[in-house]
């Protein structure tokens, strides 16, 4: 697979994760083992609210982060998406957590999605060189 194809493949995975997951977190490391303080804090806030979410580690290949930032227009990690929309990074999530907006954003989505519940399923991890 050349780099062009790899980029395309990664971009498709990212789009599927963003569009297919109600709450999607792109982070460094995993929720069980975050590899950056900002990712760890974001995970802690989501866990505190008790919401189901999917998470993807962007560290396995530098192109994952590059393609994600091109898709989202957001340069830093973590990035939280709710209902396919970028909510923000650690700073914005923190402000929203403290003001109650985050709980609201997660709750509103619940009601809106009542007609067609999206199954919570972890996206397939990106395999490099398959």
């Amino acid at each position: 697979m050349n780099e062009q194809e790899l980029r395309q493949d990664i971009r498709e995975h990212l789009k599927q994760a963003i569009e297919g997951q109600r709450v999607m977190l792109f982070m460094k490391g995993t929720p069980d083992m975050p590899r950056c303080g900002f990712s760890a804090r974001t995970v802690a806030m989501l866990d505190e609210l008790g919401t189901d979410y999917a998470a993807m580690d962007i560290l396995p290949h530098p192109l994952i982060r590059q393609e994600l930032s091109e898709l989202s227009g957001w340069p830093t990690i973590p990035q939280l998406f709710i209902g396919g929309e970028l909510v923000g990074g650690c700073d914005i999530v923190t402000e929203m957590f403290e003001s109650g907006e985050l709980a609201q954003a997660l709750g509103v989505e619940d009601n809106a999605g009542a007609a067609a519940p999206v199954p919570e399923q972890q996206p397939r991890p990106i395999q490099i060189g398959e």
């Binding site: 900002f38 227009g73 957001w74 340069p75 830093t76 909510v87 650690c90 700073d91 402000e95």
Partner: protein
């Protein structure tokens, strides 16, 4: 690695009339926090406000500036 004053000046030049307070979160010079007060944030979402500042630094974010934590407000205190 840009100094705290560089970061402050570049934000204030890019967003005329803004006031930026830049601090070093870790002492290592590459995990920075900027609190920016700017009238032009009025009416923008938080995402749009933060993007205005990220755009000042482009690829330096994640490079020489490992992390730039942001807090954005308008002069009247609204977000």
């Amino acid at each position: 690695m840009p100094s705290l004053d560089d970061v402050k000046e570049r934000i204030e030049q890019a967003l005329p009339g803004s006031q930026a307070t830049v601090t070093d979160l870790t002492g290592g010079g590459d995990h920075l926090r900027a609190e920016v007060v700017y009238q032009g944030f009025s009416g923008l979402s938080r995402i749009e406000q933060h993007k205005l500042i990220y755009d000042v630094f482009g690829d330096e974010i994640g490079g020489p500036i490992h992390a730039l934590s942001l807090k954005t407000t308008t002069p009247d205190g609204a977000q």
